[in-house]
Structures are given as C-alpha cells and as structure tokens.
Symmetry: D2
C-alpha cells in the first residue's frame, strides 16, 4: 500500500532529520473567508474543500513534511456547543479532512497527522471516561482513513492531554502531543518539565508546545520540557509549533488575553526574518519537528525550510519564487531597494509600525 | 452570449451602485509561494492556475463585483527584463489569466477587467509609438477572451496612462484608469486634478488612484481628482484601490521608499476595522468603485462590503463566516473576549505592535 | 556708567558674533516650586528672588550672553485676570526682575533684556490705544532700571507685536521681537515672511520666533521670515528661542494643543544632543541670536554654547563640569558606559521612552 | 541646643508619621551645571554653595522632611580616583555639605541626614578594615557638624552596607540603609529579604532601597525586604528613594545598563502623576519614609507630599504654586486646557513621546 512506502515520522526523527511542520489553518482560513472567528470550527473541510486543499498545498510547497488534518475543535461536544454547523456531522468533517490532507500530501512526500484538540467536556466535567470517549470517537473517524500518525494539540491542561495520548496510543500509531502553555506551566500550574514527563509516560513519542505564545517563548518552554525529561531519564522527540505573533507582554493565557485578539493582530505578525531566528533557535535547542500555528502563513513555513536548508539538504518548491535573504531584489528598479538584497539588511531591520498613535505593548486581560 | 446578460460596469455605476473591487494579487501570492518578489510577474496564471483561481474565488466570496485579470507587469518588455519566465510567453499568461478570472467571475455575478500596468519602455524611451505598441499587443491578447472592460493601473506618469487609455479605447470597451500617485501629483509633478482631466479627455470612463499609499491618503488624492474634473466641467466615475498598509511618513514614491518594503511590511497591515473607516470615507467622498491593492486580503474586501452593506443592500457570501463588528465573539469561552462582540470596542482599539524595540515611523528613502 | 562699557546687542550682532540666549523660566520655576501653572505669572521675582537669581546664574554659567528679565505675563491686565498675586503690583515685579537680571548679568559679561509678552487686552479689545498703554506702562517700569535692550516675545498676532515694537522704540533702545507662530503664519493667517516685514518696518532691530514649537520647526519659520525680508529688501538680525520639546504632530497652536500640556511633557523633552543639531541648523540658517524657551534648562543652553564653541572661540563656565560629547565618561566603572565617551554614540542614539504602553504621537486638540 | 528640640527621625517614624525624603542631587546639579557626569562628585558644596543651597531649599519647599548632605561619592578613595577635585579635600566637602543642609533644614522643620555611599575600595580590595576606615573618616567629618542621623545609600553589595552600618552605629546615631539592588538581590546574589535581615542585625534602624530602578520596581524590592524581616522576626522601619525614570527593561544593574544613560534619559522621566501612583503604592506597602533619587526634581517630591497630604495632614509650601490634580488650569484661555483641571484626565493620560522614530524599549547592556 501507498502509505507503507513513506518514511514514517519516527523513522525521520530517529534518523536525525529535521521535520518541518505546517502552519496555522483556522486564522488563515478566517481571513480567506471560510472559518468563523469565535467558533473556529473546521466545517470548511466539507463545505469548501477547494479552500482547504489549496492551503494544504501552499504549506506543502513551502516545505512542510507533515500536513495536519483540518480537524481543529472537531469533537462532537465542541461542534454542538458552537452551533455553527447543523447539517454536517463531526464524522463527516473528520473524514473529509483526512482525505484532503492525504490527497495533497501525496502530491509530495508528506505525512498526514490526524489532529485532536482540547474538548469543552474536560473543563466542564473533568470526567476521564467522558473525555476519553470523545477522543475515541474522533480517533475512530481518523482510523477509517489513511493517516500516518496522531497529534494532540492546543491543550492547556496536561491531564487532558495525557488522556488523549492514552486513547490515541491504543491505535498503535505514533502520537505527538503539544500543549499550549507558557514557561510557567499548565493551567493547573504543572511545570513544563513535569508535563513532558507525564506525556511521555502516557505514551507520547513526541512532545512539545504549540500556539498561544510567540516563537522564542515557546522555545524556552520546550527547553524546560527537555530538561524535565532529562532529569527523569526519559527520552522523546521534541516538537514546536508556536504562534506567528509577537506577544512579549503575555502571561500564561497567551494571546487570548491581548486586547488585539482576534481581529487586530496584524501589527504583531512575524516577518519571515523573525522566523529565520526562531527556526535557528529551535534547532539549536535540539528540537527537530519545527512548524507553526496561528499566524504562520505559507511564507513563514518556507522561512523555516530556508533557514534549515543546509541541515535538510534541500529547498522547498516555493523557494523557486523567493530569493534567499532578499536576493531577487537585485533587479529592482529603485537603487535603494536593490541595496536590500542581502542578509545583513533584513537581519538588522527594526520594522516601523506606521502607527504612531498606537502603543507598542498592551495590557493583557487578567483571568 | 453569456457576457451580454451581465450588467456592465458603467450600467452599475450610472445606476449609482457601489462596485466593490478585489484585493491585491502579487503580494498575497508571493506569501502563498507563487510570485517572486523583485520580479512580481504573473506567470502563476499558467504555472499554478489553482492558486490564482482560489484567490479570485476568495475575493469573489468576500464581495468583489470585479475580478481583475492576474496580468500585472505582463507586458512583453517587462517579462523580458525580468528574465523570470523563459518558457512561457506573455500572450500565454494574458490568455490564461483571462480564462481564470472569467471562470470564477461566472461563479457569481462578477465582471472581468483586463488589466495593464506601467511599462519599463516608457521610462527608458518615452516613445509614444513604442509604448502604445506594447499596450496594443497586450490588449489584443485580452480581446481574444471574454473580458468586460479594461483597467489601466499602477502608472505613475499620467502621460503613459493617457497613452494606454488611448490604445484601449480603440477596443470600444469601457476603460478605467488609476494612477499610483500621491496628493502631490505624478512623477513629472502634474497635480491629481490635472491628471484626472487628461485621463478623461483621453477617453477614460472611470478615473482614480491605486496602490503606493494608504487608504485615507488615496481618498485625499481622488478628491483632488474630483475637484479637478469639476473645475474643468468634466464628468467621470471615481475609483480607488489603495494600499493595505499604514504609510504616514511616505512621500510621493509611496511604500517603495519605506525600509520595510517588501519583506517587513507586516506590522503596517490594516485591520478590518481600518478598512471600515476607509470604505466609509471613500463612499462619503463620492467614490463608487471601491477596492484594494497590495496588502488587501480577502477579509479586507469583505470589510468594504460589510461597511457598505446597507448601501449595497446585501452581504457577501463570506459574511456567513463573520459576525458583523465581532458579533460571533459572544460565544467565546473567555468573558473578556465575549466583551469584544461590539462595534465600539473595535472602533476605538489602538492595537499594540508587540514590538517595543521598534520605532513607529521610519525614514523613507529619498529619490 | 556701568552699562556704557558693555558691548551692546547690536554691536555684537553687527560684528557677526553668535549671541547665546537664555532658557525658559516659567516652566523650570514651576518645577522648582515658584510658578503656578495655569497662571504662569512671575511674582517669584518679588516673593523668592533667590530662586530667580539662581536660575539666571545657571543660564549665565551655561553660556548665555543675554539674561531676560523674569517678567513674563507681567502686564497689569494679565496679573489682574490671573488673580494670583494680590499684594504685589506689576511695577514691583518688573522692577525686582530688572534688578535680579542685572545683578547676575554683571557677574559675567551678559546683557539684560527687558521683556514684554502678549496681553489679554489685545484679544479682548483689539484696541490699539489700550494695548499700547499697557506696553507703555511696563516699559516705564523697565526704564527706571538698568536694562540694555527690549524683547517682545510670545505674541501670536503680528499686529500686537507691531504695537509693542512701536511703543518700545520710543525709548530709543534696541528692540527684538519674536512671535510664537508656526510656518503657516500668525493667528490671523499672516505668513512669517510678511510678519517679519511688518515688524522691521515698525522698528524691530532683531526678529524671529520663540516658544510653541520644536527647534527645527522654528528654524523653518525663521527661514521664511528671512526670505520675506530679503524679498522686501529689508535687513534685520535674526533670533530664535524655540520650545525644548518634540512636537512633530502640532499645528499652529503649538504645544498648547498637545494632550500632554502642561503636566506630562517630560517624555518629549530634548536631549542635549538634540540641541546640538538645533544650534547647528540655526547657525547654518544665518541666525545669530540663538537661545531657548519653555523646556530649555541650563544644560540645553550649554549645549548651544558647546556646539558653537569654535564660532564663539570660547566655552562657557559650566563646561568645566561637562566633557564634550560625553568625554568624561571615559573614567566610568562600567566598560559599556566608557564606550559612550564619543560623539558618534550620542549623535546616533535613538532614545527609548521606557513607556511601551504609550503612543509616540498624540492627536492635538483642534481649535 | 537647637537640634534637641527637633523631633528625631525615629520619633517621627515610631509615631506612624509619613516622612518625605528629598530628591536627587547629582543628576539635577549636572543639568544645572555644577556636577560632572562620569565623576559625579559633590565638590559643588564648596565651589558653588549657592547652587546646592538653592536645590536643598526647593526640596524643603516641596515637602521634604529630611535633607541629605550633598556628599555622594565623597569618600577619600573615590575623590582620588576621580581626579576631578584636586585643591579641595573630602573633609572640606563633607563639612561644607553638612553646613548647607543644616542651614536650609532650619528654614523649616527638616532633619539633616549625613550620607555615605559605596566605595571603590570595596570592589577593589573587599578588605573590611580598609573599607571601614574610609567610612569612619567620612563619619568623623560629619560628627564635627550638626547632623541628625545617618543614611548609607547607593550600595549594591549588602556586605559593604553592613560594614558601613557597623561603623556609623558607633556614633550612637540612628542609621538608615538603602541598597541600590533589584528584586533579584544584591550583586552577590543575596536576596532582598536576606539583605534586610543582615542590615538590621548590623544595627540599621531603617532599611530600604534607593536609585537604579523605577519606583514600582523598588516598591517590590522593599516588599521583599519586609517579608524577609517578618520571617526573621525582626523589626525595622522601611524607606524608599527610587529612580525618577521608567526602566521596564532593566536587569539588576539598573539604569546604568540602559543605552540612554546618562545623557539621554529625558524621555524616560516620570511625570508628577506617575509619582502620585508611586507614593500611594509605597504607602500601601507599609513604607513610611518615602523620597526619591536620581531623576526626582522638586516637583516630584511635591507630588509625594500632595498624594499623601491627608495622611500627613498638611500641604508643603510649594503647593501654594500648584493646583492639586491640575486645578489651576481652570482659568486657562484655551477651553481644552481648562478641561484638564481634573484628576481623571491626568490619571488616565498616556503621554506621547513625540519621537516616532524611537523605540519604546531598549536593550540593556549585559554585564
């Protein structure tokens, strides 16, 4: 079968390869007109498959080695609460999303990760049986389709993530788990090192951080996870898929606490050069699965692939349309733009906001 | 024939309708991995039609009444200088672009505008015969296909735009012409009012401004054009498709003179709420063809359509995935986010950049 | 008599000497506890002569060649309206102020300028006879004392300044006149060039600008005055005493229109290095009487004197306590501070505000 | 004798009175032209007593209950290293400074504190005998004069401060001790709580923090000292004299590490309204000796006194020249300025820097 011939995620990571993840789907599809902010549910996989397919393809072209199924918040309880989708079942979305990711992944050499995220049920009931049943149902949808491994993501209580890992491991597939927590720990105050230990003990093969905070903060948190694992004598691969926005003033609630969330985040967006720095920092921290979450557009993923092109011994397809470090500006008509066709220029630029009446830091909401 | 039944652009404008334009293709497709910055040529119409088709579709869903052919910088001389595209001819791109725009326009009720932009030949030779021959060749490509009208855009010398209008009017089709100039006038110092007069005298049915400067500055320039026309006793429809970035410190060269051009403009990006203000200002200034250029993503076009939904008596398809003024945040889990489900919040927010080490204004390059 | 031996202001300017003015008294004495903001009247000359004397002395040490009498807003009508001073007459203040300036001026080689400023009467009545009577009364107070010349300052209608000049010229003394206007002209819209012409025709020997706007804007306005005089074939010396604050967003009302006026201007204050640039620009514009107004503290005046030390062939006494361009930092204990003992460092520094929640520009009040 | 009748510092603090300290001398006298930056030595006490006397007087008028002798860095070893003062001995300066403080203190009801600060000898030798000999010598100078108590200040190693306290306690006089450290602790890493314990055990009657960091950070550090004392079952009065600048990005080296130190700190200066917040916070933290250090000008000290006027049951003399919360603006000629005569306006104002090309935070030097 087709999937047999693909090198699996663990094979790649065990061989020391850098695996580039994909970017953020919900925010980008919101801007493209297919996801409703506030709900953030992925019914577009059924309603507008062409839009999801195209975004998958852009991430693939940008260098992603993994395409995640567009199944964020696609648990039955979340869809019901949202009330956004009435004529489509969660199973329909999950299955359509698997097909879309598989179709595009096969246009290259990418893997497909079936993704589950936090459930409203956990906060409401904290009932292990109920929560696990929800994860089990979503997993069963995925297992009808050709996916390569699982990712648990966007969970801010390690306990819930552990339950998800325990369910997904029953499939026999590889499981990665990323929490959306800060260096201070999860929402119950469990420190990152301890979170990592619990996840690995539950069976996670890859652990790390996603969303909520900016790249360098997330690198710090993954480092704490790594230290925790080392102290405990445990081994696991590390992954990271941070926010694509600057969030220097955020506390552990992350960007949800910013006044700009979710409709005025533009001015915080990472440039491609910010991503170069991030990719290098993540690599230097020993992380080998490096991607992005909300705010990561295709060109940000390309920037990861370009920064690590020597380590990966390749450039992604989309680099045909990008001069490294601005090289293609050499032929611009304006002399001062031609002068920007070099790494030093972009590495040292401090970009102006063009908004002199706005502050540079906000006061986050406090829970 | 199909195109006969569509209400033409002048019919719409003469009837007092608001026509929503589409957004910017080259910058957005650069970020999606299909256009090379520095070259900015539209070979993706042939190489990756699915990417161009999808972006057209997103603008259509967002409310655009016109889809512009993705033919920016697609004159023979520009393609040759660029050297970016060797195995594809300009004619192939122009024709493919017309087909793509037509295909998607017909998914709704949109018109297709065949677009020409400034030529390197003009600056090099300033030879009317040569420049007109280039526009004629591109026009002939378009005329093989089913387009509704023409747009001359991104021209910074009114003389060149006049020549383009004169050529395109020989087709018998409606012609719109937008200059990328500042309130100070074109690159030869011709003031906006005088520019408008010359364009209308040359045959332009619609005149206005596109690109280079931020929305409110462009509204000011169109107002000057309007005043010029009124003084001269001339009549024409007005259009505007400004930059989607804040450029308070720019001189007449526009955003090309900013240190952030083209790879660090993120922090200057307009929010959807900025676009609401712009759409209202443009409408109040008497402009009825209102769209965007570089930096305008689908959600910015949707914001124009939403701000003017009463005037247009409709909401665009993509508004199904958007609560007006943040209304869909009402069901968010965090109480402070729910409190943002109202117009006052977003209208008054001064978004923080999250970049305290960066300035808020830059020093533009001086020509 | 003592005053006979001093080289007069016109002797100095006619000889091409640079005359350094003093700084701002009212704002500085407000901070020191002797002037009431809102009233801004100079009763401290009587109530706390030691405070006024000490500030005079600091300006003298900093290099000032002229000490202005501390008689701002000391016309009878202003004192009455203010109601701030009940047991002291205007004459008492004017006379005490002359004595204080004289006493300290004689500690060096400085001149004393008797100063009058705009009257509430002008705005209320616009009656030439009444306004001139007020200026005449204040002049008579001054003429009882040993002053060297007169300065009319802080007047925003050239008409009122002309009346003041006409009165003061009856004394036979030299008269300088500075308006607090913007490059757009005075409060009746008279452009700077025309203002200068009217003042010189009224008898002013020195004309220029003071207060309200930042140094480089004031230099621009004085240049316009100079051009106006040249066109009219008139000659006069030029003087400038600008605000010591950054006011990039101000209109013609100047810093009064800023939200920060008068109790939160700290963050706009000029550094000594800003003053170096200003002094050089003013000198290059042909201005030879160069001082400061509100916001200019003694060290700002010293910076003028230090920037122009070659032209003046001397350093002021206070430079004994100041290494040029930071030279005295060479012996600091921290290596990174020692590295700042050079001109390039301070000339190129972009100082951070330490206030990331504040904007960098405000919206001025509109009249 | 005169000093017998004054209520001593401990009497006041034991009675629960708020004691207002004075502000910063060296930075302010640098700006006035009497102190050389880089050296920062207090020879002005001998060379220009009128300047020191006047600044004492302004602090007294502003509400200070204590005047500190202007003897900063006036140990023999520091003066010698500085090389700034050759013809004046340290003893001369110390004695002159005591006389000046006494003279002005007696104009009101203020106390005089003889001040010692850190010695170069400590860092060079860390030899207890040598360092104590230096403190002893300076103390002996003070004891020839009429001082009320001692303050050890601007010491960043608690060990050195302990030695100073031990020496000064031999005089039988009250001793206050303030470290210039951050919440992270002293330069050897001793946490604030432990520092406080050591100082009190050495005999300090009052402990706290001065200089180096902004007011609210210093309040945090004093709170940590208080907690340390409480845990240790010790009792002492608390004092605070922080920096008058915003330093949000500073590490434990404090403002010395900022690129703006010492000649471009203007834009970081506290407004009087910032000081109101600080005074309230300090009071609420249980601190009763509340003053300022570098950057605190007379009007900042007045703001402390005004914020705590109810607690102190009085306003300082300089409040005759200040409307509380801007009240005196009520009679301003501009209506929008009159509208600022209220607390809400000033409390909520976010002052703009007027410097759009500058960042809002800097990168501190790292040791």
């Amino acid at each position: 079968m087709e999937s047999k011939r693909r090198k699996g995620i663990l094979e790649r990571l065990n061989a020391g390869e850098v695996v580039v993840g994909d970017g953020g789907y919900v925010l980008q599809l919101e801007r493209r007109g297919y996801v409703k902010a506030g709900h953030w549910t992925p019914e577009a996989a059924v309603e507008h498959p062409e839009a999801v397919r195209q975004l998958h393809r852009e991430f693939l072209r940008a260098g992603a080695n993994v395409l995640q199924t567009f199944t964020f918040y696609c648990s039955e309880d979340k869809l019901e609460i949202s009330g956004n989708v009435t004529s489509i079942t969660g199973a329909q979305i999950n299955e359509a999303a698997c097909d879309l990711a598989r179709e595009v992944a096969n246009e290259g050499d990418a893997l497909v990760a079936g993704c589950v995220s936090k459930t409203p049920c956990y906060v409401k009931s904290r009932n292990e049986t109920e929560v696990k049943a929800i994860f089990k149902k979503q997993m069963d949808d995925f297992l009808k389709k050709d996916i390569d491994f699982f990712i648990v993501e966007f969970v801010d209580h390690v306990e819930e993530a552990v339950w998800a890992v325990e369910v997904l491991k029953t499939s026999g597939k590889t499981v990665g788990a990323t929490l959306c927590i800060s260096p201070q720990g999860d929402m119950h105050g469990v420190p990152p090192g301890e979170c990592a230990v619990r996840l690995v003990k539950a069976g996670a093969d890859i652990v790390g951080i996603n969303c909520h905070l900016d790249p360098l903060t997330c690198v710090r948190t993954v480092k704490l996870m790594k230290e925790g694992l080392e102290k405990a004598g445990l081994k696991a691969h590390l992954m990271i898929q941070p926010l694509g926005f600057h969030t220097p003033e955020c506390n552990h609630t992350g960007y949800l606490s910013l006044p700009e969330f979710p409709f005025a985040l533009e001015t915080r967006a990472m440039t491609r050069w910010d991503i170069h720095k991030y990719a290098r920092e993540a690599y230097n921290a020993g992380i080998r699965y490096i991607g992005g979450c909300c705010g990561f557009e295709p060109y940000h993923i390309r920037a990861i692939a370009e920064e690590l092109s020597a380590e990966r011994a390749s450039l992604p397809p989309a680099s045909e349309k990008h001069g490294l470090w601005g090289a293609a500006l050499e032929m611009h008509t304006k002399p001062w733009v031609r002068a920007r066709a070099r790494r030093e220029y972009w590495e040292n630029l401090l970009p102006a906001s063009g908004r002199p009446k706005c502050p540079s830091m906000a006061t986050p909401a406090s829970e």
